[in-house]
Symmetry: C2
DNA sequence: TCCAATTACTACTTATAGGTAGAATTATAA
DNA sequence: TTATAATTCTACCTATAAGTAGTAATTGGA
């Protein structure tokens, strides 16, 4: 009942970048240091985010990462979907291949409300919204 | 963002047993057949449930499983905790070691409501409540 | 041109969940 | 007492997530 570590790190990284977007580029060393994420794991995650198109990378000296579009237009859910971690409508709490329109599980109805709240939270929160909220990590 | 397969299976097994509690004992073969769960995996899960004390097993010929206490007194959350799958109060959505009273993550406040709904759903639903709700699986 | 700083790629290791196989143990009924 | 039907135990296999290591490719500047 948790997001994958990759998704959690990704949200923290991008929300840190959103907060520091005045500095032209942020590189992997700075991000790993600031957010206390293992450097090698961070670069792996960043490469996936770059492939998704949310962020562009500049290689070579003075390189780093920056956003492709305004942070107000990047929703948390887009980040989760890179790591196959967003919550599909069909997903249910006892849903191993059985829970659907024809055949509802015993907790189906009670599950709807928290599910929708979580979907809403992910779909309607932009990086702009969450950047700087809470503390550093 | 899902319960483990073991937890999902366990809830389905026990809720099936609750529905058929008039029959003195149900054995692993019957349960695996009725619920379409791999026999060997089901016995592994049942052994853990027996160790937890929720269910007793009778070995040998005409053996099987039965509840230790009324199904109205067995909450879904008790089942989840056997598989370390219940939602602790401290758990947060961006909670890799950082989210606590001193240091809240960016989604901390938005997370409270769905979390509490899920906790409530698990803590206040008994097997009696959910048995027979929804369809067979 | 060459060095240094940077990301990207490939491959590996480790940890954990999910699932399977076979033999050991237990208990009943005939 | 013996065959049989059941759970339990130990060990394994497979898939996936998490994390690490080393090297290649790219770029800017001296």
């Amino acid at each position: 009942m948790q997001l994958s570590n990759s998704s959690q790190y990704a949200i923290r990284i991008l929300s840190y970048m959103a907060l520091h977007k005045e500095s032209k580029l942020l590189n992997a060393t700075q991000l790993a240091e600031a957010l206390q994420i293992p450097y090698k794991f961070l670069t792996k995650i960043m490469t996936e985010i770059v492939k998704s198109g949310l962020v562009v990378s500049i290689r070579g000296r003075d390189g780093g990462y920056k956003f492709e579009k305004p942070t107000s237009e990047i929703m948390v859910n887009e980040i989760l979907s890179i790591f196959h971690d967003s919550i599909p409508d069909e997903q249910c709490v006892l849903g191993i291949g059985f829970c659907n329109g024809l055949c509802k599980c015993a907790l189906h109805d009670q599950w709807m409300e928290p599910k929708h709240l979580m979907q809403k939270m992910f779909q309607e929160s932009s990086l702009e919204d969450i950047a700087g909220k809470g503390c550093k990590f």
